[in-house]
Symmetry: C2
Subunit: 175 residues, 2 copies
Amino acid sequence: MAATERSTRDRLLDAFETLLVTAGSRAATLDAVAAEAEVSKGGLLYHFHSKDELVEGMLTRLREQGEADVAKMRTAKKGPVEFYLATSVNTGSNFDRALVAAGRIAQENDSRASAALADLREGWFTVLREHLGDESLARTIQLIGDGLYFDDTTGLTEKNALKHVRAVLKRLDVL
Amino acid sequence: MAATERSTRDRLLDAFETLLVTAGSRAATLDAVAAEAEVSKGGLLYHFHSKDELVEGMLTRLREQGEADVAKMRTAKKGPVEFYLATSVNTGSNFDRALVAAGRIAQENDSRASAALADLREGWFTVLREHLGDESLARTIQLIGDGLYFDDTTGLTEKNALKHVRAVLKRLDVL
DNA sequence: GTCTATACTTCGATAGAC
DNA sequence: GTCTATCGAAGTATAGAC
């Protein structure tokens, strides 16, 4: 068997996330998702019976990706802090996209999305605190990561932000 | 003359912001805004001829509030850093609401909203850098503020986050 | 498993009465 | 300055052919 084709189902979730991230939740309509995935609306609704199911499919995938990310962070060569900061700036990965997309949904008052994001953050924080042995430092670094992420998703990206953060963390003997 | 009544125009902008913040951009429809402000849709459209004008009215108000905020930050008794951090956690003020609302609009790919937010951030950053005389520190503190703000708007508020940040900043001789 | 056709609802906006 | 009535476009969802 040749390299497994990306399933229609996955392409639909990708399209949904892409639209949420690049154009916002108002633009992420079923029509637009179907068009982006190059499927008809009927085709979409075969895989996901409603928009709500589309959200659920997306969040399920996010949780899987999230668990893998926390595991990678725990054993990262350069240490959890550097891994965490480096992946807080948008690298354009599938995981980044899923994360930002979930953020958009959370803002529409969706408790499932908020819960998924909160769980993820808790995973990151646990690793940071274990590694640093210092709650204040762990919380502060998590906030810096949130800030980097926020700036990215709001189109406010400051080119050298990470460089400045690293300089400050060195003064604190963290890096 | 008695205390000036809040104008219908202002009530409409308030309603628009409230809906954006509490329910997201998909829920902030003209119908919903009119209902929230207790005006008919026709009444709304007398003051704002289109949804776009509603956005513009909101951003104009935000810029005014923003200038006042930066001025207050510059001369704050406890210093700009403490002022900036304290106002980065949502205090429920009108300015907070306007800020979050603009963030929602910015995410719908609206360049006017992004520009307004970028200008505001630049104002804060300028004061931080002047006061600290250190770009890395200023950038890092701004990121922490972004993180505090982000957590608030995503419903991830960590009660004692500010306490931990203050502890770390003391180690850096900032507070 | 994917398509077209269509029903129903909601959205943004206009027209005109009061 | 505010209201009701209404229109056309776009949104979600269903039914049924292929």
